[in-house]
Assembly symmetry: C2
Homo-oligomer: 114 residues x 2
């Protein structure tokens, strides 16, 4: 009888070379996803529940998946928690300055609206 | 009998203050629309037909409309031609550096694929 190996819960991520500009821009083109990216840029690795999105759990899960599949964030399980971090190194290598420009624009917009 | 005024064919555009970061990023998140923006950045005001998009006429019209409604381009009629130009001044004022970062990323990607 073959030995069983522990089931690893891993999630699919594009390699750096597979990350597409259009996909990244699409992933960033939503207020909730911009909020996630801005949060992770400041806080580093965080659980999904740490980010207070004003959307349902399933919508939140969808947004994180869009960000992951576009190559904007990396998601890993640590115990039962799904942890998220920005793929800043990959994004900066592929699209220099883009993430910082978007984050600055997001912050400026937030300041204007308060 | 009231005098008739000539019918002006104008198109709706958002004011600068109405342009939203999410809308601009969404407008830029498509290969055909990126191609349009890149073309206009180099060529200045151009007719829709000057830009060789590999899509149908109706799809092309849709892409130009998405760009216009997001505030990325301005479209005006000159005679029967619809002319397009980038709203670079508005975009640079609202989101400094964003358009240039996206254009650089687009060019890099094009070079990598040739």
């Amino acid at each position: 009888m073959p030995s069983t190996t522990p089931q690893l819960r891993t999630l699919d991520h594009p390699d750096r070379a597979e990350i597409r500009l259009e996909g990244v821009l699409h992933a960033l083109s939503d207020p909730a996803r911009l909020q996630v990216v801005h949060y992770l840029a400041g806080a580093g690795e965080s659980s999904c529940s740490a980010i207070d999105l004003a959307v349902s759990k399933s919508t939140s899960t969808h947004h994180f998946r869009v960000l992951r599949e576009a190559g904007v964030i990396r998601q890993v399980y640590r115990g039962t928690a799904k942890m998220n971090r920005l793929r800043r190194e990959d994004l900066d290598a592929l699209f220099p300055g883009l993430l910082d420009c978007v984050l600055r624009a997001y912050e400026t917009r937030c300041v204007q609206r308060t």
